[in-house]
Symmetry: C2
Subunit: 134 residues, 2 copies
């Protein structure tokens, strides 16, 4: 289950405001960015939030990959985006593709401030459960 999980919280995004509230557009962009980086999209689900007046608001969505997933959540109220790209390296090392994809997605939102984290999955701090020996 070794893999690379790239995590970003993006603030003060300077992309066109419409980009943060258009689920169909965001879905198409994310799927295209995945396939351009030779990751295998097996499905996706994006949801369009609406405000009290029924106008498009934020978006929450996931692209399910054969290699794991991409998730995205937007907060247009504060021009914010939270983003995850996770690829397993089970049958091939997909780390380079993940890094390219992650950079491409972040670039599209043009954040003034980004907070990022990298996790090596499969090498997290492990805990042997006591129940295993109960």
């Amino acid at each position: 289950m070794n893999g690379l999980h790239l995590i970003a919280d993006l603030n003060r995004c300077r992309c066109p405001p419409q980009f943060l509230i258009d689920a169909a557009d965001l879905e198409a962009f994310c799927v295209s960015a995945c396939t351009q980086n030779r990751l295998t999209v097996v499905g996706r689900f994006f949801h369009q939030f609406t405000d009290a007046a029924g106008r498009p608001a934020g978006v929450t969505g996931a692209v399910v990959l054969a290699e794991s997933h991409v998730t995205i959540h937007t907060w247009p109220e504060i021009n914010g985006v939270s983003l995850d790209v996770y690829v397993c390296n089970f049958s091939a090392d997909n780390s380079a593709a993940a890094r390219h994809l992650f950079a491409r997605l972040i670039e599209a939102f043009q954040p003034e401030i980004k907070a990022v984290e990298e996790l090596e999955r499969g090498r997290l701090k492990s805990q042997v459960l006591s129940s295993a020996f109960a």
Copy 2:
């Protein structure tokens, strides 16, 4: 965008082997566990992998929540599961629900070894991008 992201890599899962290779069953379980913890499921996509003989193999899937997401990927070859539960706390503090859900999901797989990580989203190490001042 403050929120809680709970991450687990589960090893040597002792649940019935069938549970790791049945996309429909895993999807129903994950969706039910989300709603039981009063999280709002807005959609989901689960994919069934098959082996060379066309038999069910691993599962990869996402439950998209109004509060963010749950993702799950199984590796039946090694009785492994990787799991993410991420909830934003934008309009309410969903941390307790996320922790209950996370524990419930982990319990179902009965791992002998679990590796977990907690991230406070919105409080990751931030970086002001130089391009903001270019």
